[in-house]
Symmetry: C2
Subunit: 235 residues, 2 copies
């Protein structure tokens, strides 16, 4: 994988060491439903009607693919200006709902445990850098921990770039990494990055969807994953 | 089935005629996510923390089973007073979100089509009678149409009572009826009522969950069902 990211020093790669790369929304934070309704608000402000469940099914994709999907489902032409306005509308609506967001059960304990036992971990989110700020607002994430956002890569999920960039910064081989996510886009991106994909139900997807998308195992939430870390090869 | 509801005149039963019984939230109305976050508000007002996806997975059950499920997942004792307060809190929070609720695509067209071609149909919801009012607010439902609510039966879904009561009022045999719902509770109740269960994805559940719960077919939303009515035996 390394040749695509020639910039990182291969000599630092810890081959064979298990590491974890976490999605943020729905995986560490209980924020998916707030994001979903915030997109609905942004769309309705432009008289674009899309059922809420269809938005839910697209959450976690890159904004570009999300809007392409919109175009297909609504049949509307989407201009660059409209896309920018939708993204700004979503950001504003989500900001007004952020006080409802909570860490998922076990999220802090899981991260703290990995830090304690010396397993490298990072966060990789399709959200913008402001989302990284949100992660640090709800979770105690040391400044030294890598948080890769949409602003750091050319293509977001389901392209593998966010996860390969996170592995690069961790200095680990992505093929030894466990990618933990709640959406089919996380798992598709994990597969394309050749990482081991693990699904969580905490974003509201069904277990079968996650397994079909390539999840090696599916757990309820971070607390459930913490209780079964041995099953994904973490000592 | 008739002997359980001796009150209705069996001689009016239209044996062999296909009829439709619709769930409301997530099936005709795009309201599930608003209900989910309203329950979250009500629970948090009592310092009960429950992940949003877990609430989503219980939406559409009877309030009694919902609170029993809460009891199991949170380990908290739930008094009669607390249950009443949670239900009142949910109702208040949902009321404040009702302006965000929309009919699902094709819902009105589907109901109008059934009326036009003379296929009997009714609505059966685990919600209270106020929900029936909501249905009539967002959808043009003739006054003559049966809307059975939680207030009309002893046990709500996944008990079969709501659907058997609707069939009774329609004067049709429940075993000839098509029950359309978005949740596993609808489909479990349909199976227990010996009706043909049809699932819709519009409440946010995954297709496999609905099939495993007994759905004969699964469609995206009312519009998709309308386009495939022949597949469920409606002429």
């Amino acid at each position: 994988m390394g040749e695509r990211y020639g910039a990182w020093p291969a000599r630092y790669t810890l081959a064979g060491v298990t590491s974890f790369i976490f999605d943020l929304d729905g995986t560490l934070l209980d924020s998916v439903y707030q994001h979903v309704l915030s997109w609905r608000d942004a769309l309705e402000a432009h008289d674009i009607r899309l059922s809420v469940w269809r938005i839910h099914r697209k959450i976690g994709m890159s904004g570009g693919l999300f809007t392409q999907g919109l175009l297909r489902e609504t049949g509307l032409p989407l201009s660059t200006e409209l896309i920018a306005s939708l993204q700004a509308g979503h950001a504003e609506a989500y900001l007004s709902r952020m006080d409802q967001v909570r860490p998922l059960p076990g999220a802090q304990e899981l991260l703290d445990h990995l830090t304690t036992v010396g397993i490298p971990w990072a966060v990789a989110t399709s959200g913008r850098t402001t989302s990284a700020g949100a992660a640090r607002r709800y979770l105690n994430i040391p400044d030294s921990v890598t948080v890769v956002t949409r602003d750091d890569v050319q293509h977001a999920k389901p392209d593998p770039d966010l996860f390969t960039e996170a592995a690069s910064r961790l200095g680990v081989d992505i093929e030894d990494a466990v990618v933990v996510g709640d959406s089919v886009w996380d798992l598709l991106a994990a597969r394309r990055a050749r990482a081991l994909g693990v699904g969580l139900l905490s974003g509201g997807y069904g277990e079968d969807e996650l397994i079909r998308a390539g999840a090696y195992r599916v757990y309820a939430d971070p607390l459930d994953l913490l209780a079964h870390l041995d099953e994904v090869g973490a000592r």
